[in-house]
């Protein structure tokens, strides 16, 4: 409760919800006082170990009671139980009716001539079996305005608003994949047009937005038993109470006003109804926790050429259905992670991989040139006729995928012939992952890899989900994201929500909360995902650092480790070609000029790869980074300097960053390397000393003695020379 006395006087002074001036100034005050305010928070945590959610937040927030109205089934609205197709559609219609300014409900498409010249009717977007078109919501400010799209049937089309497509429930059994979109929809519907709402009732406004971090530290104030409220084992992580709980309503309003959002919460209505009504039942989490019906309900034994007549027209569970997320045309039918039909229309009952059946092959001459399937959809002009991807092998055969295809291709507000969807998102479950293209090939990277990696890591941090390239999980062909990215160059992400197809109903709410930031992130970046990634990457790199020479600890023997502190968001490539420490050992020349500065031997640069360690380091902005270490192999006997710099690259090498940066004023660091080997053996050196001393000092003594001795003998004179000498110098002799 907001008015509940706080144990913290420092923060109490700041909260004054009544005064509008203060409300406006509050963000500024907060930003200035946050370091001050944080200090007592920590002490409060130590002194008051009994802090519970209610002590900090409103009862509503502490108990995850959402503020939207109690229309219809209150459990569903509070995300305590699942929607079904009907209640979902009804709720969408209700919201659209209630908020006509920015929500417009649609079903399927109206049809007409589509982008490839086919005449489409609205009925062709209805599921095979239950005959429902997919319900969708057009969300944008002044949705009744703008231009009207007579194919898709939506208003609110503006050439200058970036479009975003958010799609749930490709796969029937993945129920959270339509609950998360519905939660997102409820959030938009409730908060649009509002600003300065204290979402958690702690007296502060917009103090903790979506980033996966407990920015205001209130979760950390809780007694540790409350810190992991979602029970994922990560205290005060995404989805926990107090994390990302007070987002900016102004941001939501701004986003809705400047973007066109196409929200399709339940694409596969046919399959979802079948899963709920026939395959698993209403309480699927009890008997189908991690199983269920996946595909749509294409009757594989009825349509086309079929050797086994489908007499009863019922769903043949061993055979029917197409995996919608293998049915998109890009690289359709490539044999990775999908099952193609051996013969068109043929189906193997209970066969392996039947769950990923990608739909019937296309035997038409799509472009009417007399050849069949000569230009497969892969972004290349396979037949070199000047047209690309014009005669496909198959894919987009299902009402649901046709719907996505035509909605995408017929939504061209700026009439530039390219898709308006700069960013696209599809929700799936499960495994807690953030995936990006490619899916159709392994060990391959898209041209935008580092940008896709960057956004993927940002969303991974937001949700604490693991970011990775789709094919690193397993290869898939013909999926939503490969098609959107491959054909329409849209930054497309697949979110794998949660840990089950049918989560327990009490988990719906906190999983939805945990995933709420992602669609907003996708919406925000839709204006220019590439540019936002470039700026983002450059910002992360400015906080990274290469170990300064004074901080490098030179071991008493062996390789010399040099560390680099990496922002986890940086799409770093561990490949030594892209990322490495450049170093060279320079030593004084052995033939020095006697009067000039030290002469150094110029040597070429060498490279050592970086290895990730589990050690954390502190980035320049104070946040946590990952420590990379590179080892410089240098003999212990070397004396001189190591000059080193780090090249930090991304997969495609689009971001080769050099450390030290130019701002650090130098193109490399210089580390003095002392002699590290032993100086020698005492006894041997004493012997050597004796030898040298005998030669030099002894020799000197000997010559001096000879010089001043009265002895007349001549050193080293061979006896036979004596008479000759006597002849030459007869007069000599004293």
């Amino acid at each position: 409760m907001a008015s509940q006395p706080s144990s913290n006087p420092g923060r109490k002074r700041l909260s004054n919800p009544g005064a509008p001036v203060t409300a406006i100034l509050l963000p500024f005050l907060l930003s200035m006082l946050s370091p001050v305010a944080l200090a007592p928070i920590t002490t409060a945590q130590e002194s008051d170990s009994g802090t519970s959610p209610e002590d900090i937040w409103s009862i509503e927030y502490a108990n995850q009671i959402f503020p939207w109205g109690s229309h219809g089934d209150s459990d569903q609205l509070q995300f305590q139980s699942y929607h079904d197709y009907f209640s979902l559609k009804q709720r969408m219609q209700t919201l659209a009716a209630y908020y006509p300014d920015f929500l417009q409900f649609n079903e399927g498409l109206l049809g007409g001539f589509n982008a490839r010249g086919d005449v489409m009717t609205s009925g062709e977007y209805e599921g095979w079996y239950y005959n429902h078109p997919s319900p969708w919501m057009k969300i944008t400010g002044n949705v009744q305005g703008g231009s009207y799209n007579d194919f898709n049937g939506d208003d609110g089309n503006y050439a200058d608003r970036p479009d975003v497509m958010l799609v749930g429930n490709h796969h029937a059994r993945e129920w959270m994949s339509y609950e998360v979109p519905m939660f997102f929809l409820e959030t938009i519907a409730f908060y649009y047009g509002k600003a300065g709402v204290d979402n958690d009732g702690d007296g502060l406004i917009d103090e903790d937005g979506w980033d996966g971090i407990d920015n205001d530290g209130d979760c950390l104030m809780l007694n540790s038993s409350f810190q992991d409220s979602n029970g994922d084992g990560n205290p005060c992580g995404p989805g926990d109470l107090g994390v990302d709980e007070d987002f900016s309503e102004q941001f939501i309003t701004d986003m809705v006003n400047t973007r066109e959002i196409y929200l399709i919460p339940m694409l596969n209505v046919d399959g979802n109804r079948y899963d709920r009504e026939e395959f698993c039942g209403e309480t699927a989490w009890e008997n189908c926790y991690q199983s269920g019906w996946r595909k749509n309900l294409r009757d594989n034994t009825h349509t086309g050429v079929t050797p086994i007549p489908d007499i009863d027209e019922a769903v043949d569970e061993g055979c029917d259905g197409v995996d919608l997320n293998r049915n998109y045309q890009f690289e359709w039918g490539a044999p990775l992670g999908a099952t193609g039909p051996l013969f068109p229309g043929f189906c193997y009952a209970d066969g392996p991989n039947n769950d990923v059946y990608n739909g019937p092959a296309n035997t038409e001459d799509n472009d009417g040139d007399g050849q069949i399937n000569e230009d497969h959809v892969d972004g290349k002009d396979d037949d070199a006729d000047g047209q690309t991807d014009e005669d496909w092998w198959g894919g987009n055969t299902e009402p649901e995928t046709k719907f996505i295809q035509d909605l995408t291709e017929m939504n061209d507000d700026d009439m530039d012939g390219a898709s308006d969807f700069k960013s696209t998102l599809t929700w799936h479950s499960f495994s807690e992952l953030v995936l990006w293209p490619w899916g159709h090939c392994t060990n391959c990277y898209s041209p935008d890899d580092e940008y896709l990696v960057y956004h993927g890591q940002m969303m991974g941090q937001m949700t604490d989900y693991a970011p990775m390239q789709s094919s690193d999980l397993y290869p898939t062909t013909g999926d939503f994201c490969d098609w959107h990215y491959g054909v329409h160059n849209s930054y497309c992400y697949t979110i794998e929500i949660g840990n089950a197809f049918h989560e327990n109903p009490e988990d719906i709410a906190h999983i939805s909360v945990r995933n709420l930031g992602v669609p907003f992130y996708m919406i925000e970046m839709a204006d220019d995902p590439r540019y936002r990634a470039i700026v983002g990457i450059e910002n992360t790199t400015s906080t990274q650092w290469l170990e300064y020479p004074t901080n490098v600890s030179v071991p008493s023997d062996g390789d010399i480790p040099v560390g680099l502190c990496l922002d986890p968001m940086f799409p770093f490539s561990p490949d030594v070609e892209m990322t490495h420490l450049m170093w060279r050992f320079v030593e004084p020349t052995r033939q020095q000029n006697d009067f000039g500065p030290t002469d150094w031997i110029e040597v070429p640069w060498e490279r050592s790869g970086f290895n990730e360690t589990s050690v954390q380091c502190t980035l320049l902005d104070g946040s946590n980074g990952t420590r990379l270490v590179s080892l410089i192999p240098l003999p212990d006997t070397s004396v001189g300097k190591i000059q080193y710099k780090a090249m930090l690259g991304t997969t495609n090498g689009a971001f080769p960053f050099t450390y030290p940066t130019v701002e650090d004023g130098g193109n490399y660091y210089e580390l003095s390397i002392p002699y590290r080997a032993g100086f020698g053996d005492a006894i041997l050196s004493t012997l050597m000393f004796l030898v040298i001393a005998t030669f030099v000092w002894g020799g000197l003594g000997f010559t001096l003695r000879e010089m001043f001795s009265d002895d007349e003998r001549i050193l080293g004179m061979p006896p036979e020379e004596i008479p000759i000498l006597a002849v030459i110098n007869p007069g000599k002799g004293k």
């Binding site: 033939q591 004396v639 002699y675 100086f679 020698g680 010089m707």
Partner: protein, 567 residues
């Protein structure tokens, strides 16, 4: 032209005087600041092996040759080459003299640094809390200070040589004895430091053989170059000082004594520096293997300032060290200037005028080295005199040619003696055996094993002079130029002060000028400083037919006076 009024000849008082003078010439800054660095950079004890070997292969044989030449010619370098190599080759002596002069120009500046550091030290300016880089930079960047101490050096040098051989002897004896005492004191203090440190690691490193260094050519080349420079072998010093030798002195043992004494001092200085640096520096080898002036003027004051025993001992130590260094430099300075002066006197100039002229020249031509192009090394922030460095770069290796010229003289003498023997005995055609017996050994037989010596020089000396020396000379030269080629950017650009072209250019211009000047040289009368009773009649020497060679004190014949327009 009033040499006639002076004593007939100018001589050292005795053998010890000559020894001290030549040792003083040999011992210089190279022993004290170059040797420890070479030991540090070339693997400690591993370096001592080539260094010692080349003492016997390079230094001693060349000094023997120098003494033999000087003892008989009784004139400085120009005259010696005129007499022994022939009239057409007097310019070789001029080259030798000039290189010494050119080095003297900047060596006076360097000696001035040492003097200045001594006076800073005794005034307590090099104590523990002083930033030695700051001291060095501010000194080098104050031109008037540098010039002042350069002038002091020149004045001391002039005072020492003004009075001729006796004065030189006195100065050298005083300075050298003091140097020994000072160095032993410093060695003792260093020893105490290293022992207190607990490990004596400076001593151990200096005498530990690291086998991998022994197989590196660089170690051997550095050992050779250290031997070649440190002893001043082949530079004309011994020729010059043997002019003042009494008539029947042994020259071969003198050569050995001089070189062994030089190396003894090297070891003492090396041990002093190594033990002191190792006892306090965290990175002793890094400290001793850097640039030379850096270790002397930056590292050592710092090291000595940390000596045990309190401020008095520390002050004593640093003062002793720089005084010893100054003395070593001064004696070398004396020999350098005397070498030039001797050549003037030989050609009939008044000694006082010659000394004054040389002194002024050394001072004036040294000023650019003192004040021009004082740069800061960007990597260390340490100042250095680039003009001086370039002078050293250009003339340093030119010095080696004097040695080559001496070897040439010996080869030429051998060949002419072989030809003479052939005509005497009516032998035709070349026979190696005969050549070895009657040509190669001729110089040794005629001028080295004269019977005055205590040390008989065997055939090994011939092999060294005829085979070893040209080989070692080539290795030195080639390795130097190869090093320049490998490590200097744009070495062929004549405007690059560190390049090769600039060296060849200066050498070429100088040598051509001198060859052209040769005619003028040999038209001058040459006065030999022959002691009474010495059997060094000009007729016994190769240059016996030169009509313009006289002895000091001789009356010039009238036709010569007329010829030369001296009347």
């Amino acid at each position: 032209m009033d040499s006639q009024t002076e004593e007939s000849s100018d001589q050292f008082s005795g053998r010890l005087g000559l020894i001290f003078a030549t040792i003083g010439a040999a011992i210089g800054t190279g022993n004290i600041w170059r040797f420890p660095r070479m030991v540090g950079a070339n693997g400690g004890g591993s370096f001592l092996i080539p260094w010692l070997i080349f003492l016997f292969l390079w230094s001693i044989p060349l000094i023997i040759a120098e003494f033999a030449l000087g003892k008989r010619s009784r004139v400085g370098t120009v005259g010696t080459f005129r007499i022994f190599a022939g009239r057409r080759f007097a310019w070789m002596g001029l080259w030798t003299a000039w290189i010494n002069c050119a080095i003297g120009f900047y060596y006076a500046v360097v000696t001035g640094w040492c003097l200045n550091y001594f006076q800073i030290a005794i005034r307590g300016g090099l104590s523990q809390e002083v930033d030695t880089t700051e001291v060095w930079n501010s000194f080098l960047q104050s031109p008037w200070q540098v010039i002042f101490f350069q002038m002091i050096t020149v004045l001391i040098t002039l005072a020492a040589i003004w009075g001729g051989a006796r004065a030189i002897e006195k100065a050298n004896v005083t300075l050298m004895v003091s140097l020994f005492v000072l160095l032993f004191a410093a060695l003792f203090l260093s020893f105490v430091m290293d022992v207190k440190d607990g490990s004596l690691d400076g001593f151990i490193y200096m005498f530990s053989i690291q086998p991998e260094y022994l197989v590196q050519p660089e170690t051997w080349i550095n050992g050779l170059s250290q031997s070649a420079w440190s002893c001043s072998a082949g530079m004309g010093m011994a020729i010059t000082y043997s002019v003042y030798m009494r008539k029947d002195e042994d020259t071969t043992l003198n050569a050995a004594t001089m070189c062994l004494a030089n190396n003894s001092i090297s070891i003492i200085a090396g041990l002093t520096v190594m033990m002191a640096v190792f006892s306090v520096s965290p990175d002793p080898l890094g400290a001793v293997s850097g640039g030379s002036s850096a270790i002397t003027f930056l590292v050592l004051p710092e090291v000595f300032a940390q000596a045990p025993g309190g401020p008095i001992v520390q002050l004593a130590m640093v003062a002793i060290f720089f005084l010893a260094l100054s003395f070593a430099a001064l004696t070398s300075m004396i020999s350098t200037v005397e070498l030039c002066v001797r050549n003037f006197v030989d050609h009939g100039f008044d000694r006082s005028k010659s000394v004054a002229l040389t002194g002024v020249a050394i001072f004036l031509f040294g000023i650019p080295s003192a004040v021009l192009w004082i740069k800061i090394d960007p990597s260390t922030g340490v100042a250095f005199p680039q003009f001086l460095e370039v002078q050293d770069h250009i003339w340093g290796y030119g010095l080696m040619f004097s040695g080559l010229f001496m070897a040439y003289t010996i080869w030429k003498y051998g060949w002419s003696r072989y030809k003479a023997w052939q005509s005497d005995n009516g032998v035709e055609g070349f026979n190696l055996r005969d050549y070895l017996d009657h040509g190669v050994s001729a110089f040794r037989d005629d001028y080295i094993n004269t019977g005055d010596n205590d040390w008989w020089i065997g055939r090994w000396w011939d092999y060294i002079m005829y085979l070893g020396f040209p080989l070692m000379f080539s290795v030195l030269m080639l390795s130097y130029f190869a090093d320049l080629l490998a490590n200097v950017d744009d070495p062929w650009n004549p405007a690059n002060p560190h390049g090769i072209s600039i060296i060849l250019l200066f050498w070429g211009v100088t040598a051509s000028l001198f060859v052209g000047f040769n005619k003028v040289l040999i038209s001058r009368p040459l006065f030999r400083n022959v002691p009474e009773g010495a059997e060094t009649s000009i007729d016994m020497l190769p240059g016996g037919s030169d009509p313009h060679i006289f002895q000091v004190g001789d009356e010039l014949p009238d036709h010569v006076i007329e010829e030369l327009g001296l009347a």
